[in-house]
């Protein structure tokens, strides 16, 4: 018997769920058409009126929303609610250094807390749980998202945030933490620190972990479970939609249930943009049907996966998404931070004398993501003095790090070292086994 937070909604028969979805979709389309100039214009251009949405099948008539739209309408242009109804903002980094902003009304915070509480329950948490939230608190949705959900469930919630591993481990032991929320790479890092700090599994009371914000492999899951003595669940989300808690694995861990009464999923062919049926691999698209702050129509996540509609043994009727197997754009997720190669490129080229030849190398060393950039420098910039080159190197490292908000190591190489390819250059080498 599975553990639910809102049993009725989570196990609602498909027919009733779809009725609810349609009702919410119709209300939403009317709402954004009236409140958000961006959508009003887009729908007029597409020749769609809110009254044209008569069935869930009519969803495909609605225009798509992209990350570019969010950037173009920075900071408040995508909001349907006026700022006096917005109670919070979160943001993630975008390609141009401009933030991608998400605004939440009190209603949205409630929706988010609820879907996160459901997610915790699906991982067998309850008000008996002692939850250590080691996602970062701040503009990133991870920390506060998990925090509000854990509190909503009634669990004892520790706002540990990320970093300070020594203290995290001390709290695991002293507070008898049962539940860990963090990125999977940080979980593995903590597991290794555990050994170094002299803790053994018998010191810990961990039962489960909700890990997400970056892609991870089954091998990592096995390692995390073994080293921390817990059951590791995948949690999925993105700030544009709400944050963590868009979908969660149940105890059967065969895909993640999407909370479909709030987030209406579709899979589309990223080339033709045509909707694809269940079981087909394509790009995941969401329409947020209960948010009021910044509701989005058909938001293209760029995440590639497929949807599973077969009933799940856990009793939840909400469809599952398979593991995200890649992206339909070139975004990298490094240590939980979104990075676009174009950001790195413009930071590199802002300095004169840098050859157009560079290669971004992402690796996972001791379970932490590392970013290295190999750069060929022109003869004119090359100096016979070590200190000049070291200054150049640290200047470049500074420029790139501040553009992408994560630390980076620059490595100078001779001309011709980076393999020239015919056609599209190989700019990114991702050595992580995900």
């Amino acid at each position: 018997m599975s553990n639910y937070h809102e049993k009725e909604l989570e196990t609602m028969p498909r027919e009733s769920l779809e009725k609810l979805q349609l009702k919410r979709l119709q209300t939403l389309v009317e709402y954004v058409y009236e409140k958000c100039d961006f959508y009003h214009k887009k729908m007029d251009e597409a020749g769609i009126k809110p009254s044209d949405i008569k069935s869930l099948g009519d969803l495909k008539k609605l225009p798509f929303t992209t990350k570019q739209d969010l950037r173009d309408n920075y900071p408040y242009g995508m909001f349907s609610a006026p700022t006096n109804e917005i109670v919070r903002i979160h943001a993630s980094s975008g390609t141009t250094g401009k933030l991608t902003v998400a605004g939440y009304t009190q209603n949205d915070i409630d929706v988010w807390s609820t879907v996160m509480a459901r997610s915790f329950a699906a991982c067998d948490c309850s008000n008996d749980s002692i939850v250590n939230v080691a996602y970062g608190y701040g503009l990133f949705t991870g920390g506060l998202g998990a925090h509000y959900g854990s509190e909503r469930l009634g669990a004892l919630t520790i706002p540990a945030s990320s970093g300070n591993s020594k203290r995290q481990l001390q709290m695991f032991k002293d507070f008898k933490v049962t539940t860990l929320c963090c990125t999977p790479s940080y979980a593995l890092y903590l597991a290794d620190e555990m050994k170094n700090e002299g803790y053994s599994l018998s010191d810990l009371s961990l039962k489960q972990g909700l890990f997400g914000a970056e892609p991870w492999s089954e091998e990592m899951r096995v390692q995390i479970e073994k080293k921390l003595g817990l059951k590791a669940y995948n949690i999925y989300g993105l700030s544009e939609i709400i944050g963590p808690g868009v979908s969660i694995e149940c105890e059967y861990q065969n895909g993640s249930h999407i909370w479909e009464d709030h987030f209406l999923p579709e899979i589309i062919d990223p080339k033709t943009l045509e909707p694809m049926g269940y079981g087909h691999q394509g790009e995941l698209v969401f329409t947020t049907i209960s948010k009021t702050g910044m509701p989005l129509l058909r938001y293209r996540t760029r995440d590639l996966c497929s949807l599973i509609d077969e009933p799940c043994k856990c009793g939840r009727t909400h469809v599952r998404m398979t593991k995200v197997i890649g992206r339909s754009d070139d975004m990298l997720i490094i240590g939980g931070v979104n990075v676009f190669p174009s950001q790195i490129e413009s930071a590199l080229f802002s300095m004169k004398g840098i050859e157009p030849h560079y290669q971004i190398i992402v690796d996972r060393i001791n379970n932490l993501d590392k970013l290295e950039i190999q750069v060929e420098i022109e003869d004119e910039l090359f100096s016979d003095e070590v200190k000049n080159l070291q200054n150049l190197k640290s200047q470049l490292e500074k420029n790139v790090s501040s553009a992408i908000s994560i630390s980076v190591k620059i490595h100078f190489v001779s001309r011709g070292t980076i393999e020239r390819s015919i056609g599209k250059a190989v700019r990114v080498v991702d050595k992580r086994r995900i």
Binding site: D379, E380, F382, D384, L389, Q390, H411, F412, V413, G416
Partner: protein, 137 residues
């Protein structure tokens, strides 16, 4: 002035060998070599008898190369020889970035190469002190 050729190398096995091998195969005579070393890259500095040829060969092979003016000065190959030369630098307040040596074919003298700030001004000062300067070998 003496032209020094600098070549960017990575700190990995075989990295210094590559440019030296290329020059050897092209029949370039290398007079002096020095290495500047950082944590993850190095600078191979060379003085070749035929500098233009050496640069062309290295560039053709794709090496990152640049040229620097050094001061070449003769030192007597005897105790105190280098000391009396450096005394002039000290007296004239010429600041040295780095220097290295080359044993001349004449046994009684060695040649030192100096990288200094403002090389031409330094050269004039050294001439005043009758330091024996060299430009070719």
């Amino acid at each position: 002035m003496v032209k020094q050729i600098s070549v960017l190398i990575e700190t990995k096995p075989g990295q210094a060998y590559k440019p030296i091998k290329v020059l050897g195969e092209a029949g370039v005579d290398i007079c002096a070599v020095s290495i500047g070393d950082a944590s993850d890259f190095g600078i191979l500095r060379l003085i070749a008898r035929d500098c233009d040829k050496a640069v062309n060969v290295l560039k053709a092979e794709g090496f990152t190369v640049n040229l620097t003016d050094l001061i070449g000065a003769v030192v007597q190959n005897e105790p105190g020889g280098l000391s009396s030369l450096l005394a002039v630098f000290e007296e004239e307040k010429i600041s040295i970035e780095y220097f290295y040596s080359f044993i001349s074919r004449k046994h009684e003298e060695a040649i030192m190469f100096f990288k200094v700030e403002e090389a031409s001004a330094a050269l004039d000062k050294l001439k005043k002190h009758k330091v024996v300067l060299v430009e070719t070998f």
